[in-house]
C-alpha cells in the first residue's frame, strides 16, 4: 500500500469536485471515493488500486430509500446492502433484489457494502488481483491476459474478448439489471441518468474501462421502476458452498404470466458474464409463450447460445441453463 491523502466530503458536489481532479474514473484512478471500502481497501492493500487521494463519502446524506410519487423506488447510493435487502418495499415489491443481496458476501460485508459501491465492485479474477502477473489488460492496458491459459474455472463465458475474461462479481447489479434500474450520476452541478443496461461496458480491447463513469462522476441514487402489477421475481445463485462465495452461475428473473402466456420477462445472469448479463435472447424466447419447461429450456438455450467457455469452465454453460430453468420454474409455480 502506498501513501495516500484522505479527505472527507461534506456534500455530493464537493465529493465530485475532488474526484474531478482524477484523470480517469476507471482503473488507475488517482482519486477514489470510499464508501464501505469492501472492494477498494482490499485492492489498495494489494497495490492493484493506488489512488493518491481517497475521498470519504460516508457522511453524505444518500442513505435513504424512498418511494417516489410515480411508484418508483429511489435508493440512495450510501444505503448499505444489508439495509436494502431488508427494506420492506424491496422485500415486498422487488424480491429478486432482496434475495440477490442476501446471497452476496457475508453479513459483515453486507453491513458495510453500499448500493453505489456494489455497482462498482471489481472482479475477483486472481490474475487481476496479483501483481506478480505483469500481464493483465484490465490493470495494464495492452499487457496481455494471464487468465486465458491460466486457471479459469470461475471466469466468464459471455461477453468475453481475447483481451479479458474477468467475471463481474455482483449479485445486486444482476438483480437490478432484471429490474431495469436507472443510475443517477452527479458531476459538479449537473446530473444525468443512465439505464443500468447502458452503464457497464464490454471488455473488448479496453477491459480497463468498465463503465461509463467519467472523472468527477458520483453515483447518488439508483431508481427502480414501479413494480409491474402481477409480475413475480426471483434470484437463484449456484456455487460450491452455501455461503460467502461468488456465483458460478446465478439468474435474476422478473416475469409476468398472464393466464397461460408469459407477457413480460426480464432475465439477467450473474457469474457468467463480463458484466451483469441481461439476456434479451432469453426474454424473447419467453415472451408470448406458455410458462412450461419446454419454453424455459428454449430460453436457457437461447441465452447461452453464444457462450465461449475457457479450459476450466465449460460446465458453466450447462449450470447457467439449469439455474435459469430452476429460477423460472420456482417463480411460476
Amino acid at each position: 500500500m502506498i501513501d495516500f491523502a484522505l479527505s472527507r466530503a461534506s456534500s455530493p458536489a464537493e465529493a465530485s469536485e475532488q474526484a474531478a481532479k482524477s484523470k480517469t474514473a476507471q482503473q488507475g484512478a488517482q482519486v477514489r471515493y470510499v464508501a464501505g471500502g469492501t472492494t477498494l481497501i482490499d485492492l489498495m492493500k494489494l497495490d492493484v488500486e493506488t489512488p493518491v487521494r481517497v475521498v470519504d463519502i460516508n457522511r453524505l446524506e444518500l442513505a435513504r430509500t424512498e418511494r417516489q410519487p410515480d411508484g418508483s423506488l429511489r435508493i440512495g447510493a450510501m444505503v448499505r446492502n444489508a439495509d436494502l435487502a431488508h427494506d420492506p418495499n424491496v422485500v415486498r415489491d422487488y424480491p429478486v433484489l432482496s434475495q440477490g443481496l442476501l446471497s452476496g458476501a457475508t453479513g459483515q460485508l453486507r453491513n458495510m457494502a453500499t448500493t453505489g459501491g456494489n455497482l462498482l465492485q471489481r472482479t475477483r479474477c486472481s490474475y487481476f488481483r496479483d501483481l506478480a502477473y505483469a500481464e493483465c489488460n484490465k490493470r495494464t492496458p495492452g499487457s496481455g491476459c494471464s487468465a486465458i491459459g491460466g486457471h479459469n474455472r470461475t471466469h466468464a463465458i459471455l461477453g468475453t474478448s481475447e483481451h479479458c475474461i474477468a467475471t463481474h462479481p455482483s449479485d445486486m447489479a444482476v438483480a437490478m439489471m432484471a429490474l431495469e434500474a436507472r443510475i443517477h450520476i452527479l458531476n459538479g452541478q449537473s446530473e444525468r441518468e443512465v439505464p443500468i443496461g447502458e452503464f457497464y461496458l464490454l471488455p473488448g480491447n479496453t477491459p480497463n474501462l468498465e463503465n461509463v463513469l467519467k472523472p468527477g462522476d458520483l453515483i447518488t441514487y439508483v431508481t427502480l421502476p414501479p413494480p409491474v402489477a402481477g409480475a413475480r421475481s426471483h434470484y437463484l445463485k449456484l456455487r460450491d458452498r452455501a455461503s460467502y462465495e461468488f456465483a458460478l452461475a446465478s439468474a435474476a428473473v422478473v416475469i409476468h404470466v398472464d393466464g397461460e402466456r408469459i407477457r413480460k420477462a426480464r432475465i439477467a445472469f450473474g457469474g457468467v458474464g463480463t458484466r451483469p448479463w441481461r439476456s434479451p435472447e432469453a426474454e424473447h424466447a419467453l415472451e408470448g409463450k406458455a410458462a412450461d419447461e419446454a419454453t424455459f429450456r428454449a430460453a436457457a438455450d437461447a441465452a447461452l447460445r453464444n457462450a465461449k467457455p475457457q479450459r476450466d469452465n465449460a460446465f458453466k454453460v450447462e449450470l447457467a441453463k439449469r439455474c435459469l430453468i430452476r429460477a423460472l420454474t420456482t417463480v411460476t409455480t
Binding site: D47, L238, D240, F315
Partner: protein, 750 residues
C-alpha cells in the same frame, strides 16, 4: 485415578481461558510489542523455479523508515538444522536466503525491515528482482512415484498371489489435493535479543522443539533461546515446526539489536508455512464372494518440495495395516519432488488422506459384493492388530459401527442408487470408519501448592486452542480437591519443565501421568510439612495417616480434623509444597510395548442432491468415537464437531490450486480458498463410547483432536455415490464432475 460420579474428569467444563479470549485480553504471539521495535516484511519470488539474476534493493533502502533489506549474501548466518534430530524437527530445513536458487513460487528472496509495518511493506514492494526462470515441475500426476523405489511400510502374506486369485476385487486410484492450513492467526514471530539471549514469541505448537531448532539454526546454545507462546489462534499442524520467518525475525533482531516483529500475510500462508501435500493412492482389494477380505494393497505417493529444501512423507498407510482383518497385505509409499513449498502435517496427517482412499475402496468392494457396507466392515473386524500380532489396548470399532447405524437409522438404507428421497431431493447415505494413533510421549510437570491456598501447575507444553489449559486444571482439581479458579496453569514457555508437542493428539494422554505424579509428590511434601510443623493438629503424626481432601488436610480416621492446607503452610512458614512428575513414552514401556494403541470411530452421513441445479450438500452426520475416557466432554465434543466440519470442507470444497504455468497458488486467500462456512455445517450428532484405556494412563484417556476428521471425506463420497451413481475418487467433489458423470441427469428433473 479412581474417579467418582462427582469427579470433574469427564465433565463438560468450560475453558478456564475462555474469558481471556472472549474479552480480547489473551495475548497472542503477534500481540507482543516492545520499545524500539521494528517490522519486517518478506519479498516473495514470483517464479516457480530458476535463479535470482539481479536483486536491486537500492530504492527500497532509502524509502522512509527503512532500516535494512536482507537477502542472499546480505544476511547474518542461518545454519541448517541437524538432520533427523527428533528433538529438533523442521520440515523446510533450507535456511532462508541460503542460495540464489528459486525452488518454489512464493519463496522468500528478501526481507525489508522498517519502523512501521506500512513502511516495511512499501519497501518490500519496491525491491526489484530479476530472475532466470525455468519451467517448474508442478505436475498433478504423481505416477512418477509408482516405481521400484517405493518403500515397503507393512507386509504380510502374499498379496500378489492373493489378489490375482481373489474372486471379487477392485483396483482403483484415489487422489487428494493440496490443502492449506488456514488458521485465522497468521504465522508470526516477535524476536527480542538482549546481547546474549533470545526471547522469541512464536506461533508454535511446540515450544520445546522450536527452542531446539532455533538454537541450531541461530548457532547459539539452547539455553540462550527462550520460546514463548501463551495462546494460539489455531495451528492444525501448520505450526508444529518452525518456518523461515522465525529465523529471519531472530537474525534481524540480533543484527539490528532491536525487537523485530514479522507477521506473514495470508498469501504467504499458502507457500512458506506448509500444506497437506497432494496424494495419489492406489487401492487393490480382493475378497471372497461371501465378503471375507483376502487381500489389501495400498500404494501411494505424495508430493514434497525439492528435496534440498525439505522432505515430507505423508503417511497415508497409517491405519491401513490394522483396520481390517486380512491375511495378505502390503503398503508401499514414495515421495516425489515438485516445485512447491514444503508440506507439513495437517490434522490427522497420513490417516486422513489415507482413510479417504481405503474407506472409499472398502465401499466400492462392498457394493461389488452386493453387501451392506456396515455389515462388510463388521465381518472383517480383526481380533488383534494383525500387522504386529499384538492385542489392541482398547478397540471398540464394532460398537462404533453398530451404535452409529442405530442412531442414524441405517436400517432404512436402500442400496439402489438414487432410491431414497425427501421431496424433490435425492438422499445419499454413506458410512466410513476412522482411526488415529494413540500414544504417550515424554513429559515433566511441576505442581506447587502455595500458602495462599492456590496451586500452580507448570509444563512446557502449550494450549493450541483445544482446551489443554483446562485439562491440566481439571486433573489438578481432581487430585487436590481445589476448585478450578484456585489453580494457575502455566504453559507455553520453553523455560518450564519440558512438555510435549501439541501434535498427534498426544498431549492429553501424555501429560496426565506427569500431572498425577507431580500432584502426588506435592501432596506428600505437604503432608510431611503438616507432621513436622509446630502448632498443627498433625504434629508428630505420620504422613501416611493424613490425606488431602478438598484442599484440606485431615487425619484419614477423623474428618473433623480437617484444616485448610494453606493454614498448615503458613504456620510452617513455607511458601510452597512442590512435586515433580514424569511421563514416559508408551513405546519404551516394557509393560506396554506389546500392545497396539489406537483410537477408532465411525461416521454415518447423509447428503442431499438436487440434480436439477447440481447442488450437493451434506445434511446430517452421526459419529461415534472410541477415544478412551473423555476428560472434558465440552472440549472433546468441540474437537470432533470441528473436525467433522473440516471434513465437509475436505470432501466438498478445499483444494489449493496452483497455476499450471508457474506453480503460483491461484486461490491464496480465505475468500477464494473455500472452507466450510456455518451455512455448510450439517446437523452433527457425536457420541463418545467412553471406555477407559487404562493401559495408556491412569485416567484412561487417549487424544481426541484429529480422529474426527479421518473418514469424513470417504463417508461423503460414499453417500454421493449412493445419491448420484457418480464415484468421486479425486477430492474435492466438484459439481462439474457430478454434472458430467451423472447418467442421463442433464435432461432429467430440471
Amino acid at each position: 485415578m479412581a474417579t467418582t460420579p462427582a469427579s470433574i474428569i469427564g465433565r463438560a467444563v468450560p475453558r478456564i481461558d475462555g474469558p481471556l479470549k472472549t474479552s480480547g485480553t489473551a495475548k497472542y504471539s503477534s500481540d507482543h510489542n516492545f520499545p524500539n521495535m521494528v517490522y519486517a516484511v518478506p519479498v516473495c519470488s514470483t517464479i516457480g523455479k530458476g535463479r535470482i539474476r539481479r536483486l536491486d534493493s537500492s530504492a527500497a533502502e532509502v524509502m522512509p523508515g527503512v532500516v535494512r533489506v536482507y537477502r542472499h549474501g546480505k544476511v547474518p548466518p542461518i545454519y541448517r538444522p541437524i538432520p533427523h534430530d527428533r528433538t529438533a524437527r523442521i520440515d523446510e530445513s533450507r535456511p532462508p536466503f541460503e542460495d540464489e536458487r528459486i525452488y518454489y513460487n512464493g519463496q522468500y528472496v528478501a526481507l525489508a525491515v522498517a519502523d512501521s509495518y506500512e513502511h516495511a511493506k512499501a519497501a518490500a514492494g519496491a525491491v526489484k528482482v530479476e530472475y532466470d526462470a525455468e519451467t517448474p515441475n508442478v505436475s498433478l500426476d504423481l505416477s512418477d512415484g509408482f516405481n521400484d523405489s517405493m518403500q515397503e511400510e507393512s507386509k504380510r502374506g502374499d498379496v500378489d498371489a492373493a489378489f490375482a486369485s481373489a474372486p471379487v476385487k477392485i483396483d482403483e486410484t484415489y487422489v487428494t489435493p493440496v490443502e492449506t492450513h488456514n488458521p485465522i492467526e497468521l504465522h508470526a514471530s516477535v524476536a527480542t535479543w538482549d546481547g546474549s539471549r533470545f526471547v522469541l514469541y512464536e506461533t508454535t505448537q511446540a515450544v520445546m522443539n522450536h527452542q531446539a531448532v532455533m538454537a541450531q539454526m541461530l548457532g547459539v546454545p539452547r539455553e540462550n533461546v527462550q520460546i514463548v507462546m501463551k495462546f494460539l489462534g489455531s495451528g492444525f499442524g501448520g505450526k508444529l515446526w518452525p518456518w523461515p520467518q522465525a529465523m529471519l525475525a531472530a537474525v534481524a533482531a540480533r543484527d539490528l539489536n532491536r525487537p523485530v516483529k514479522l507477521v506473514i500475510d495470508r498469501s504467504m500462508m499458502f507457500t512458506c508455512a506448509g500444506h497437506r501435500p497432494r496424494t495419489q493412492q492406489r487401492i487393490r482389494l480382493g475378497a471372497t464372494p461371501d465378503g471375507k477380505l483376502v487381500s489389501l494393497e495400498h500404494d501411494y505417493a505424495n508430493h514434497s518440495s525439492i528435496s534440498t529444501v525439505g522432505h515430507f512423507r505423508e503417511n497415508c498407510g497409517e491405519a491401513t495395516p490394522f483396520l481390517y482383518s486380512t491375511p495378505n497385505l502390503r503398503v508401499r509409499s514414495n515421495v516425489v519432488d515438485r516445485n512447491v513449498g514444503t508440506p507439513t502435517p495437517m490434522r490427522g496427517p497420513g490417516a486422513v488422506p489415507g482413510l479417504f482412499a481405503l474407506e472409499s475402496g472398502i465401499d466400492e468392494l462392498a457394493i461389488k459384493l452386493k453387501m451392506d457396507p456396515v455389515q462388510f466392515r463388521l465381518m472383517n473386524e480383526p481380533k488383534l492388530d494383525e500387522s504386529k500380532g499384538m492385542p489392541f489396548s482398547s478397540r471398540h470399532l464394532k460398537e462404533c459401527l453398530t451404535q452409529g447405524a442405530e442412531k442414524f437409522g441405517w436400517s432404512a438404507y436402500k442400496p439402489e442408487i438414487g432410491s431414497m428421497r425427501r421431496g424433490d431431493i435425492t438422499l445419499g447415505w454413506g458410512v466410513a470408519s476412522c482411526s488415529w494413533i494413540a500414544g504417550r510421549g515424554a513429559c515433566k510437570a511441576t505442581l506447587s501448592l502455595r500458602d495462599d491456598g492456590t496451586a500452580r501447575i507448570a509444563c512446557a507444553t502449550q494450549d493450541i486452542g483445544t482446551g489443554t489449559y483446562t485439562v491440566f486444571a481439571q486433573v489438578v482439581s481432581e487430585k487436590t480437591g481445589l476448585p478450578l479458579h484456585k489453580i494457575d496453569v502455566v504453559l507455553g514457555n520453553s523455560s518450564l519443565p519440558p512438555g510435549p508437542t501439541s501434535g498427534g493428539s498426544m498431549v492429553t494422554g501424555t501429560v496426565i501421568p506427569a500431572i498425577i505424579q507431580a500432584a502426588d509428590a506435592a501432596i506428600r511434601q505437604l503432608l510431611t510439612v503438616a507432621t513436622t510443623a509446630s502448632d498443627t493438629p498433625f504434629q508428630n503424626r505420620k504422613p501416611e495417616e493424613l490425606v488431602l481432601t478438598e484442599g484440606r488436610i485431615q487425619l484419614k480416621s477423623d474428618a473433623a480434623s480437617a484444616v485448610p492446607f494453606e493454614t498448615i503452610l503458613k504456620r510452617a512458614n513455607i511458601r510452597t509444597a512442590e512435586g515433580e512428575g514424569n511421563s514416559g513414552p508408551n513405546s519404551t514401556d516394557p509393560q506396554l510395548r506389546n500392545y497396539s494403541f489406537h483410537s477408532f470411530g465411525a461416521h454415518f452421513l447423509e447428503v442431499e442432491w438436487d440434480a436439477g441445479i447440481a447442488r450437493l450438500r451434506v445434511s446430517r452426520v452421526v459419529t461415534v468415537i472410541d477415544v478412551g475416557r473423555i476428560v472434558n466432554l465440552k472440549a472433546a465434543r468441540n474437537q470432533v464437531e470441528g473436525a467433522i466440519v473440516m471434513g465437509v470442507g475436505m470432501g466438498m470444497l478445499e483444494r489449493t490450486i496452483y497455476d499450471p504455468r508457474n506453480g503460483r497458488p491461484v486461490n491464496n486467500n480465505v475468500a477464494d480458498y473455500l472452507m466450510a462456512t456455518n451455512a455448510d455445517c450439517p446437523e452433527i450428532d457425536v457420541t463418545f463410547l467412553d471406555y477407559p484405556d487404562k493401559l495408556l494412563n491412569e485416567v484412561g484417556a487417549r487424544g481426541v483432536g484429529e480422529i474426527g476428521l479421518a473418514g469424513v471425506a470417504a463417508a461423503i463420497t460414499n453417500a454421493t455415490y449412493h445419491a448420484t451413481g457418480v464415484r468421486v475418487r479425486e477430492l474435492p467433489i466438484r459439481l462439474e464432475t457430478l454434472m458430467e458423470q451423472e447418467k442421463g441427469s442433464t435432461t432429467r428433473r430440471a
